[in-house]
Symmetry: C2
Subunit: 471 residues, 2 copies
């Protein structure tokens, strides 16, 4: 292995600012969205696919391990180096030329380093957007690596569903560039290999460019926050709203009373939708329509559809809003929880009908083992995703990391073994959950995945070996 050789070679070939090695320059590439940290020996910043290919060829020749990094917003450590200082980060941040929007095709062609916000800014000129709604501002490459979901999955799906094609540099020592898919909405003329890259945590090569499906920006929207008498009735309400509103229903989020209190308590400027009334469980419902349906019509339809639920006592209180103030409450939760104490985040997915049983059941199991932990869950009830987040409050004394390990063991074992759920709904696989990958993904599936990964990346790249071997 020759790090010095690699740095020297690429530094002279890729030009000014392409290779960073100074401690101060490296700092911002060393943490991710969960404040996990790592230490790379260098950061390489190519500007085009050919330079990415050059980087991978050189790294292979010098036997230096490469880790792709996008916007640094990942939550499982997949884009960070470990602490050994033997890897280099390949940042795609300079692959961020202006996207090309094709309004008739309703697609965008974008570099992997482009931020979601910049993509949406360009798309907005045509009344379009990339309909993945997240709290963070990741790069296109990072969105693909994590196959991000978000709050409008119910209507628009995950990144995979909105990904039409990509350009990928294989980690084969040759820097082979392949295009998988393209700007077509429909294509069954080949095996859809790009699907393997979505959600592969940077382990299948380096994505340099993507062809993305855009959606028309809604012309009118209505939000409502509902306080439920019993969280257990949320799935039934969801199903009823799906039948009532079809393609107009764009989000159905769940918020525990504890998560709601934390958000309102931490951000005093937020308006409390329920004016101080105690809330057991709240749901945030969003309707989105084109220009043919105005907001008054949405409000009227929604109000009427709620009447039987209020009469039956399922919905205790309902607050309607045509703006973003209810979403502001929802999006304030993660930061509010961090302010309360140490957060143990568990990103699980379950069948929708099991979500509320799971919450009650696993809250009970945790209480028996670690009574000081507080459950502040929220999630994407519409798609079965649950941020089953636990907080060790500052008031409970010093936090022992073993508590997090024990809690995650309990939560993930229940999710996977007892409920047939997933231990990673939308954050992907990385160093922070690969032990669960090894434990819970069946051996023949890991074997297939690992061998397929080796077809794309005979030279290991990134932090995850999908065979399940530690890397």
């Amino acid at each position: 292995m020759s790090l010095v050789g690699l740095v020297h070679e690429l530094g002279s070939r890729l030009g000014d600012g392409a290779v960073l090695t100074e401690r101060a320059d490296l700092e911002r590439y060393q943490t991710d969205g969960r404040r996990t940290s790592g230490r790379a020996a260098a950061v390489i910043r190519p500007r085009c696919a050919a330079e990415v290919a050059d980087t991978l060829r050189s790294a292979a020749a010098h036997q230096v391990h490469v880790i792709a990094q996008g916007g640094g917003t990942g939550l499982v450590g997949a884009g960070l180096a470990d602490s050994s200082r033997t890897s280099v980060i390949l940042s795609v941040e300079r692959l961020s030329e202006s996207p090309v929007i094709d309004p008739l095709n309703r697609t965008a062609e974008a570099g992997a380093g482009l931020r979601l916000s910049a993509l949406n800014e360009a798309a907005a000129e045509h009344g379009l957007y990339f309909p993945i709604d997240l709290g963070a501002d990741p790069s296109v490459g990072g969105l693909i690596a994590a196959n991000a979901g978000g709050a409008r999955f119910l209507r628009h799906g995950d990144v995979r569903r909105n990904l039409l094609g990509l350009e990928l540099v294989l980690s084969d020592g040759q820097g082979t560039i392949v295009r998988l898919g393209g700007p077509l909405w429909k294509n069954n003329s080949e095996i859809d290999l790009k699907q393997l890259v979505a959600g592969s945590s940077g382990g299948f090569g380096i994505v340099t460019r993507a062809f993305l499906a855009l959606s028309p920006k809604p012309a009118s929207q209505l939000c409502a926050m509902l306080s439920l008498a019993d969280a257990g009735q949320a799935p039934e309400l969801l199903v009823a709203l799906e039948h009532a509103f079809g393609g107009l229903l764009s989000a159905f989020e769940g918020i525990s009373g504890a998560a709601l209190s934390a958000a309102l308590g931490h951000f005093p400027r937020l308006r409390d939708p329920f004016r101080g009334a105690a809330v057991d469980y709240a749901v945030l419902v969003e309707l989105s329509a084109g220009a043919a349906v105005d907001e008054a019509a949405l409000e009227d339809m929604f109000s009427r559809s709620l009447i039987p639920w209020i009469e039956r006592g399922v919905v205790r209180d309902a607050v309607l809003d045509r703006g973003r103030s209810l979403w502001a409450v929802r999006h304030a939760i993660p930061e509010a929880l961090r302010a309360e104490g140490t957060v143990i985040a568990c990103d699980v997915a379950l069948r929708r009908g099991e979500l509320m049983h799971f919450r009650a059941d696993v809250a009970g199991r945790l209480k028996a083992v670690v009574p000081s932990l507080r459950l502040h869950d929220f999630g994407h009830i519409g798609d079965g995703g649950l941020h089953f987040n636990l907080v060790w409050p500052r008031t409970a004394g010093p936090f022992d990391p073993a508590i997090a390990d024990r809690a995650r063991e309990i939560v993930f074992a229940a999710a996977v073994e007892d409920y047939g759920g997933s231990f990673s709904a939308e954050h992907g696989i990385g160093p922070s959950n690969e032990a669960f990958y090894r434990r819970y993904v069946a051996e023949p599936v890991r074997r297939l995945s690992g061998h397929i990964q080796r077809q794309f990346a005979p030279i290991p790249i990134g932090r995850v070996d999908f065979l399940g071997n530690p890397r």
Copy 2:
């Protein structure tokens, strides 16, 4: 190879009716939806995944080649034997126990042999359906093998988008059964290998069971057929309707004047929407809504949105219909074309903005080479899919198959080389188009696909080798 040994072994182990070898019994497994024919040595009809595994193990031991077959509605010959009588068909038709519908999760678990119509019948009891709208009634396994699209792709996508998981028997000589995905809507805890099986033409193993996403059946629908002054304005109209109706727009189909005339001429019971007026190009628009929006509201919204298009002269005439009579016209086209003569079907996909340029351009090229061929195209304009179907009329004299070859060369070369399109939008890959696969799919993509196929199926299965070698 020992066909006799295999037939004897499976006949005794799988019981009555599981192994068919009589000529009369084999007949119905020897043609597909395009009346292509093949001749298998035997048909094996297992009843469960374990029997499928048993069949594949035995076939491997006896070195007999297996081809999976679903409902026999494929259009590229992927489920048929060749004429050599050396292969056996593994029909999944008996893997068709009643599906399990989970209404809160909005999913179905179904055997690979279940027909789409039977799935929808079970789902309808809960107000749900599997939103793939096709003229045929394929099996669940066939839907997955072809990754079928259909007329509501614009709103609901293809089979892939509605496929949450599957059970697959690998063609590895061991009969290994893997489960890829399951009933979860969201799961990023592993590489999404089921995506490789969707659209793999039965070349990755035998699908025995699937977990499918269902959608609420629309409570109200409105259809409209519009006669356009100029086909070239169809994409612009599409974009405008997408912005106006968002998730309410469920189909946007294009119908050439020639295809429309053929349908109306061949089926005199069909009502002519335009009462005899000449039509250059028609589009069929469908809006679908939940119970909160009634049909009168849809009709009102749609009528209002059309006014500027009528005023500008883009829309010459518009016929609205709350029933299925306009769809009946659309669905009558394929049979009407067969009645006109010999059909050369070209299932291409293009960027939406290029569709109409392509039509005009390639129609001209064909006219110059084979003047007697008539273009009767129709298609899924909303997703860029075009059934660029050509008819050799009975009146033009005997049909020489070389004409079909020449026409397909011209159409596919234009689609792929000049327009960056696809030579197979929604019918998949099979013997009837594998020469184009070899020609138009880039070598590194074929190499990856072929090597990945060998991970799932070290023992070749089905009709397509994705490396591109003839099979």
